[in-house]
């Protein structure tokens, strides 16, 4: 065996990054996604009004079309909703809520799933059997259905939807981490580390983790987008977030009622924000998946 195969490969090696910069689709997608995240973070400072401060809203300005002038002369870039709320501001704040829910749930699911997956792959035995059976069963049921049933039981609320998302997501991380662990365990360097007398925990974190990270990175991106989409779907169905936490999904849901009158903007613009977020993140993830696949070959 060559020394090359024994040294753990770098997570983001130079040539992978160089390849990334040469892919137009991936770069643009990544840029748009980062831009959206920055917009969400800066929302309190850049949005024209605080959409949830009722004193700033004027009912007379309700359901104005994009670029229409309000009663006090302000121009509403993306129009207003049924309460006279500026859609642009609402979308910026909606982005924040959507991203917050997705970040919390994905990161938690990543930690739980990866730990269980690596543990399962290293220990094997009954733990592995039980965990993987659970994973298999859950993967065969659509995520929408699992989260719907959970929410039906738990009720509404931001904590409940985060719990439901984590329950749906951890299995993807666990499956990927386990598979990668099994591959890495069969390689020489893990055996070498064991023969040096390193403890299991040390091997797990310092030797295995950097090597199972590349596939996990792809899953993390896909799952992050998935969390955003799923939360939006559940909120649209009316079982997700309460109206006090108006995420993008909830904004689309309220606007849906006005769609038939041709007042498209209340639904459409939050939808476009959602689309940009989810689609671009998936494009980046897709690019990483293909590059990692082609390197493995």
């Amino acid at each position: 065996m060559t020394t090359n195969a024994q040294t753990p490969q770098r997570l983001l090696s130079a040539d992978l990054l160089a390849g990334f910069w040469s892919s137009k689709v991936a770069v643009i997608a990544a840029f748009v996604f980062v831009f959206m995240v920055v917009l969400a973070l800066a929302a309190p400072w850049i949005s024209p009004q605080d959409p949830y401060d009722l004193s700033q809203l004027n009912l007379l300005d309700s359901r104005l079309a994009p670029f229409e002038k309000g009663i006090d002369g302000t121009v509403y870039l993306l129009g207003t909703d049924q309460q006279g709320r500026d859609m642009f501001s609402a979308i910026l704040h909606g982005l924040r809520i959507s991203l917050f829910v997705a970040v919390v749930s994905s990161v938690t699911a990543l930690v739980i799933g990866t730990s269980l997956g690596i543990l399962s792959g290293m220990r094997r035995g009954w733990l592995d059997t039980v965990l993987m059976r659970i994973v298999d069963v859950q993967l065969s049921i659509p995520a929408v259905l699992v989260s719907l049933v959970l929410l039906a039981v738990l009720g509404r609320g931001i904590d409940k939807i985060i719990f439901a998302l984590i329950t749906v997501q951890w299995v993807y991380f666990a499956r990927t981490a386990r598979a990668a662990t099994l591959v890495e365990m069969s390689k020489d360097y893990v055996e070498a580390a064991q023969s040096f007398g390193f403890s299991r925990t040390r091997i797990m974190f310092w030797e295995l983790l950097p090597n199972v990270l590349p596939p996990l990175l792809v899953v993390a991106m896909v799952e992050f987008a998935h969390a955003i989409a799923l939360e939006a779907t559940l909120s649209f169905l009316g079982v997700g977030l309460p109206i006090t936490e108006p995420s993008l999904g909830l904004l689309i849901s309220t606007g849906f009622a006005y769609l038939q009158n041709g007042e498209y903007w209340i639904s459409l613009f939050p939808g476009i924000a959602l689309l940009l977020l989810v689609f671009n993140l998936n494009l980046v993830a897709e690019w990483f998946r293909e590059s990692l696949d082609s390197r493995r070959r």
Binding site: S140, L145, V149, F236, L237, G271
Partner: protein
């Protein structure tokens, strides 16, 4: 083969039993529907009376055993809300959902397989890249949003297709369906297209991978060396070869689509089981939720079993018992 069928059926039964237990505990363990069903001013005596009438005063395991026993006799309990048998509510709505899932699967196959195959045969081309991006779109974008866009474009802006409800039904060969009427097709087109996007993206990806791999295989080259037309190579040699793996996916998709239909039915007010379950969840109508989960679980298990058998029929290598391949 008979052994395989028996074993699979047994597995299916176990799966359903576990599902029933899970559904029961998940749904019955938490939340008190009494508070929802009865007037807030009602006395605790009235509450207790209702509790006894619905059997909610029994311990959980007893409730589950009653529940199992009733299942055997086809009694899934009555809806807390309407008082109608839960099973009948589901079965009344099921044809609409099946119809929707069937048309969606049809659209997904007819559009997705050729697109994927052409992309795979021209791997790396501009067409291939466009199709790939399209499939990422189908995978990632929430389907309710696509549904909204479809409504916005085709019914609000263009005004060519209705945006909600199911069309007129007619009965043909003893099957009542909206697919027998023009009005029915007009109504189903948008929701079915919406529901079709996810399986379509999946089929595109699989057909693409299958075609780009198979085209490099010797038997395709040999067929070309025989002077067989490109059209025949694609539609006979390649399609038959990759259809075996596609059928597996299609079978599993049918089960999944019924669950995904929850979203589509809500967007398009399609009177199927998905809309029923959302309503039931909002009113904590436990028997209906449990009945729904069990029926969908049944369809899921049956679809997967049938798919496995179909696989045997399609692949000559498995059909003849496998193992005797001289390789």
């Amino acid at each position: 083969m008979i052994f395989a069928i028996t074993r699979r059926s047994f597995q299916a039964l176990i799966t359903l039993l576990i599902l029933s237990l899970l559904a029961f505990t998940a749904v019955y363990a938490i939340g008190d529907p009494i508070l929802l069903l009865i007037d807030a001013q009602a006395s605790s005596l009235e509450q207790e009376a209702l509790r006894t009438r619905l059997g909610l005063d029994q311990p959980m395991p007893v409730q589950y055993l009653y529940f199992l026993q009733n299942l055997m006799s086809g009694d899934f309990g009555r809806s807390f809300v309407s008082g109608e048998p839960a099973l009948r509510l589901i079965l009344e709505r099921l044809p609409a959902t099946l119809e929707l899932a069937f048309v969606a699967l049809l659209i997904a196959t007819v559009v997705g397989v050729p697109l994927g195959m052409i992309a795979g045969l021209n791997a790396g081309s501009r067409f291939d890249r466009v199709v790939s991006v399209f499939s990422v779109l189908g995978f990632s974008v929430p389907s309710f949003w696509i549904g909204i866009i479809l409504i916005l474009v085709f019914s609000v802006q263009l005004g060519v297709l209705p945006s909600f409800g199911r069309g007129d039904t007619a009965t043909l060969f003893g099957i009542a369906s909206s697919l027998w009427t023009f009005d029915g097709w007009r109504h189903i087109l948008l929701p079915a297209t919406n529901l079709a996007l996810f399986p379509m993206a999946l089929l595109i990806r699989l057909a693409r991978a299958g075609a780009s791999e198979a085209v490099r295989l010797d038997f395709i080259k040999f067929a070309r060396a025989k002077g067989v037309t490109t059209r025949r190579i694609i539609f006979v040699h390649l399609l038959k070869y990759i259809s075996i793996s596609l059928v597996t996916i299609l079978g599993m998709q049918l089960g999944l689509l019924i669950a995904f239909a929850i979203v589509t039915e809500s967007v398009f007010s399609w009177p199927g089981t998905g809309k029923l379950i959302i309503d039931a969840m909002n009113s904590l109508d436990r028997p209906v939720i449990v009945a729904y989960l069990l029926i969908v679980g049944c369809i899921f298990v049956i679809a997967n079993t049938v798919t496995d058998l179909l696989y045997i029929v399609l692949d000559p290598r498995i059909r003849s018992g496998g193992g005797n391949d001289p390789r």
